[in-house]
Subunit: 345 residues, 4 copies
Amino acid sequence: MQIQSMTDTSPVKWHLAHTSWAFETFILKPYLAHYRPFDALFEYLFNSYYNAIGEQYPRAQRGCLSRPSINQVVAYRQYVDAAMQQLFEQCKGKDASGISPLIRLLINHEQQHQELMVTDLKHGFYLNPSFPAVFDQTPIDHANKTMSWIEFSAGNYPIGHQNESFYFDNEAPPHQVYLQPFKFASRLVTNGEYLQFIQAGGYQSPQFWLSEAWQKIKQSNTSAPLYWLKKDNRWYHYTLAGLLPIDWEQPVSHISYFEANAYAASQNMRLATEQEWETAARSIQENPNSKIEQIFNCLWQWTTSAYCAYPGFKAAEGAIGEYNGKFMVNQYVLRGGSKHTPSDH
Amino acid sequence: MQIQSMTDTSPVKWHLAHTSWAFETFILKPYLAHYRPFDALFEYLFNSYYNAIGEQYPRAQRGCLSRPSINQVVAYRQYVDAAMQQLFEQCKGKDASGISPLIRLLINHEQQHQELMVTDLKHGFYLNPSFPAVFDQTPIDHANKTMSWIEFSAGNYPIGHQNESFYFDNEAPPHQVYLQPFKFASRLVTNGEYLQFIQAGGYQSPQFWLSEAWQKIKQSNTSAPLYWLKKDNRWYHYTLAGLLPIDWEQPVSHISYFEANAYAASQNMRLATEQEWETAARSIQENPNSKIEQIFNCLWQWTTSAYCAYPGFKAAEGAIGEYNGKFMVNQYVLRGGSKHTPSDH
Amino acid sequence: MQIQSMTDTSPVKWHLAHTSWAFETFILKPYLAHYRPFDALFEYLFNSYYNAIGEQYPRAQRGCLSRPSINQVVAYRQYVDAAMQQLFEQCKGKDASGISPLIRLLINHEQQHQELMVTDLKHGFYLNPSFPAVFDQTPIDHANKTMSWIEFSAGNYPIGHQNESFYFDNEAPPHQVYLQPFKFASRLVTNGEYLQFIQAGGYQSPQFWLSEAWQKIKQSNTSAPLYWLKKDNRWYHYTLAGLLPIDWEQPVSHISYFEANAYAASQNMRLATEQEWETAARSIQENPNSKIEQIFNCLWQWTTSAYCAYPGFKAAEGAIGEYNGKFMVNQYVLRGGSKHTPSDH
Amino acid sequence: MQIQSMTDTSPVKWHLAHTSWAFETFILKPYLAHYRPFDALFEYLFNSYYNAIGEQYPRAQRGCLSRPSINQVVAYRQYVDAAMQQLFEQCKGKDASGISPLIRLLINHEQQHQELMVTDLKHGFYLNPSFPAVFDQTPIDHANKTMSWIEFSAGNYPIGHQNESFYFDNEAPPHQVYLQPFKFASRLVTNGEYLQFIQAGGYQSPQFWLSEAWQKIKQSNTSAPLYWLKKDNRWYHYTLAGLLPIDWEQPVSHISYFEANAYAASQNMRLATEQEWETAARSIQENPNSKIEQIFNCLWQWTTSAYCAYPGFKAAEGAIGEYNGKFMVNQYVLRGGSKHTPSDH
């Protein structure tokens, strides 16, 4: 629960502490009468990136925090949980409309960290040449062998969160966009199809790659997706169930934006925009006979769209406004969700 | 003509050689009968980034090419010019529709490098504490003091190149977009307005900055735009006419995307998207009484839009297809043009 | 036992595994009949830097090895210990002169790692703003207030290991050197004396610093020794007993070669050479009335000497020859020993 | 005269300006009555590293100083030369013993820069794939084919400058050292001998390399000395006369300390210490029949000794004291001199 394999990942222990911190910082401190923080230092230690709360312990050193121990972090969580119960008591019979959306947000925030824990663990364990398994082998996700193309006609389409369920601020406001006609693949690209790209010299063909990507793969000597390994002339990939021979029918996973883009270019295609993706996804919900598979609960899917604000987007006031808005630059949008995204998320 | 102040800039001499190289490589070699290259090594030395042509001399070392001398480069240019004249003779009375669009493209390519030469020279001379002047002082570009806001209503608008004049491939195909209602400023932000942002602590206020920007300005200790200098408690900026006291009515220049974004956030505003900018610009051409100033021939203007392909964009076949398409990632769109953009560009 | 605070430090767990690995690799595998390695992967995981043994797990990632767990590492140690017992049985009544020097070396190697564990732990815990204590407060090491200067006359002196006790290969062969007359301080520099250097502007005075040092302290903004902290205008330092007010009579510790050198220069003095240091140290052993204090079991002491081979030094054959010889470049010699050096070392 | 190929090299133009600056700064300003500096800014621009004089123009940007032009720098030199003549007039008939050692030092300083100009030019031109020649081909320096070993017996030997001729401060004070018996090679290692080391897998054999060296050559993929190139299965090296086939009888040049050290280790030998080298060199001057060749005016020769102060070394007071003393760390001593060292140096 202690290891941090790179700056972008965090120890399992840290995730547990940080999600507890979020309830303490955004709910208990401002709303629970007479709340006493568990440990004054934690405000600093487990603040991820909220400048309005204060300085943050350096992200790259999270793996060096051997204290608080996991037992202390669990005690922290229990303390916060108990205080949340007190808050619920305090709110009984009163108007809690100021607090409840925040609580809902923090539950969803915690679900994001549940997924991150698994993702970070995978990267951390991958650095171990014994390739430890986290879970038993999970059932494999196969789609129809044949990829077909679903057509969408030109027109104005709705984008953004449209109903009463929970949403993150960056999914709003709902608005319309005009889309040119486009075709959308009925399923994801398989490992087998991606292997053909490799074998056809994809990683040696500059014409498929963005300029920045080409420099990067040359410099890092990349020639296969993250977690792929060739041993005795056979391909394996590291999974949460350990090192396994690659299943060629499974969708290819853990490829970068650059790799997704290059693969598409090699097929004379392109990635969908996030608006096209959303339109395709919405069509499934409206048409139970849709042929599109593997959209949800399968893999996060690269779109060609840069992460930006929806027209009319406005970050919330105060610290919580730093949740999403300040990251809208030099990032590209993934849609869908992973097998390890909590199912009610 | 020799200095290269950073990897992103090139020596003046290199620009002259490279634009000559472009005519030689894309026109003379394939189309002029019996053409003999001026120097076989130049194919490698002055190839900027075309992988389909071959390897390239390392960009960061362009400033180390003391040979060919400027006299040799001028001779190269005269040789290429003479060969182009021969080509024109060769084409007389024949169908030149395969060549002429390429020539037109390379003329526009050369105009881009004319502007780059001035821009690169400015950066190079700025590193010299004697702050040499390139030109005499140029007339100053003032707009109306009062900034007003021009309203645009919601609806579908045309985007992209629409007529018979020259355009780059990334300006096509023409298409429509749906825009929410928006307001567009009648003029650019002035140095004086930007100074207020500085004096109000803008560079010390994380809430205005994107997360990546905040880390960057903290690390680099940035507290004013590039080329601004404070001396004896007075502000100067380095210009092509040397180091001058800042004119507070002039539009602020040489600010980064991050600074533009932060300034807008500090005013509770945002940068326009490239589609909004284009719609505003088009409105001037259609309405001679438009109050919008400083759109063209003034300064390149940051939009909030990531550089991406227009719907239906397709890079040209072969080497020339590398001109624009492969750079469409992690860059943000500037619109307008600078005072040093050739006026017929 | 898991954290690694920088590339140069190792997790406590790793030290235990590596010292066990050393016995397994250099003794058990070659000398114990029918020995079966505990885990084949450990040969790679816990090889520190012996190329003749094989590839090594990347040093910077030692903190990411959450497996083997500490329990497994302890079991590894017990397995190796038991096998060593078997080896002793096997050797009974036989000539063990081929093995026993190696065992003696590995015991001394382990003592080095015992000290390293404490040193690395200190650095790791220092990154934790709760400043955990490792030990109870240790008695403080004070010397006479007055620093006097002990004179040594010119002449040839013996250098290097001279008797039958254990020594590392880099302490041999014994040889003589010619020394100019020199004076040697009777005690180490105190925290209080070093504070005067700070307060007199030592860190702002280029004339005291080596050129490389000056660039380094400017770039890193260094203005006090590692582990010193100023809080509410009072100086503290992080110790193995936690964060404590600085004791001004104690010798200054955790200063770099560059700082030691600059302090000496500021006093119009210089660091001793390793030959001068050794001559001074030897004089204590020969003269019980020597006024020189704090030579042993106090602090490692910088000399001005670059680490190099003694005349006639020859690294051992095979992997064990990599122990010391290959590091004899760009390092400077410390002499003495720390409070945490095992006392029979 | 403008190019700077890396931070460690300087443009030819800069060398000329800096040596003029040295006379202006250390002689004319303090000693010539009513001297007016040529250009106030030059004090900053052409100060190499003297903190006591003031801030320095960043070393890495010397290649960006397109102004002053070479004509201005030549005018600067003529101005300084003329002022030096005036100073000589002023000194006539007076005691100049305070000035003349400084002038002598600066003449020797200029000779160092004359050599550096050639060395830096070589590196700069090497980056040009046309491999320009600086000089006509110079006569090749061959020694006897057979390498013999000259024996020196143990004893105390004199080290350091011993007579009335010029010397740098780091060559003093003269002192004695005790040396163990050693053997010294009669000539340098040839290109042909070094090629055998390459062909025997020297660059793939960790046992010959210092640990830091091994990491470096692995990382940089080094497999031959700087300036060596293999083309069509034949070896060439870049020389000041252009790219030439390697002469296998010539001594190997442009190898790093690490390469020299590794070659020696591969022969079961070691580099000489600087004291051994000096003793060998002195023996030639004393014995005209010495068999030792290629000591002077051939190539700088790596010794195994770290650069450090001689016993009793004391840097001069003031700025001139920064000339040598502050670089005595993490550098290794070369002895001898190059073909391009001025012959009376």
